[in-house]
Amino acid sequence: DVKVTQSSRYLVKRTGEKVFLECVQDMDHENMFWYRQDPGLGLRLIYFSYDVKMKEKGDIPEGYSVSREKKERFSLILESASTNQTSMYLCASSLGLLSNQPQHFGDGTRLSIL
């Protein structure tokens, strides 16, 4: 069974801090994704990566960056946290061969920016 692990379930940070959210998957998946989940808006893609050191912007990349130095790990970075980045953040992974492969999600990190 695919395991996607996010380092924190809950995180509280202050405005202006640099915040790191970590995600690790154990199934050798090529693709990894970061979403934010907000009520009434569903899931919105922030960034995704289809290979080590490769990344592509999603729909809402502003204020975020990512890092993928190893295949199993995908980090989301909030360069200077702001209150409008308070949200639930979900990491996901999928096999890279075909577009119809399902994505497997982590438990999420609920981030509060004060």
Binding site: G40, L45, F48, G58, S99, P102, H104, F105
Partner: protein, 109 residues
């Protein structure tokens, strides 16, 4: 632009009643469509995908290209079906999922 629309934020039914969660999409190519579900305090997980043409937990969904819809149906709802349901779309040769805003299904006893 590609879009997935779930018109109902909340759908409330009684146990044993039929359920239909609506999903419409806008995309001119050949979409891959999925339903994901998130039960209380659990992670988001795949429920079914149209390419598999399968029934999972009694749910089915048929892709209607003429109406650009992928509605999720179950003839007899159970209380354990209460959850948040998301319809999602991928486009040709893309790994990106485009999600709808979700529908919360509440099945009352």
């Amino acid at each position: 632009a590609q879009r997935v629309t779930q018109p109902e934020k909340l759908l409330s039914v009684f146990k044993g009643a039929p359920v239909e969660l609506k999903c419409n999409y806008s995309y001119s190519g050949s979409p891959e469509l999925f339903w994901y579900v998130q039960y209380s305090r659990q992670r988001l997980q795949l429920l079914l995908r149209h390419i598999s043409r399968e029934s999972i937990k009694g749910f089915t969904a048929d892709l209607n290209k003429g109406e650009t819809s992928f509605h999720l149906k179950k003839p007899f709802a159970q209380e354990e079906d209460s959850a948040m349901y998301y319809c999602a779309l991928t486009m040709d040769s893309s790994y990106k999922l485009i999600f709808g805003s979700g529908t919360r299904l509440l099945v009352r006893p």
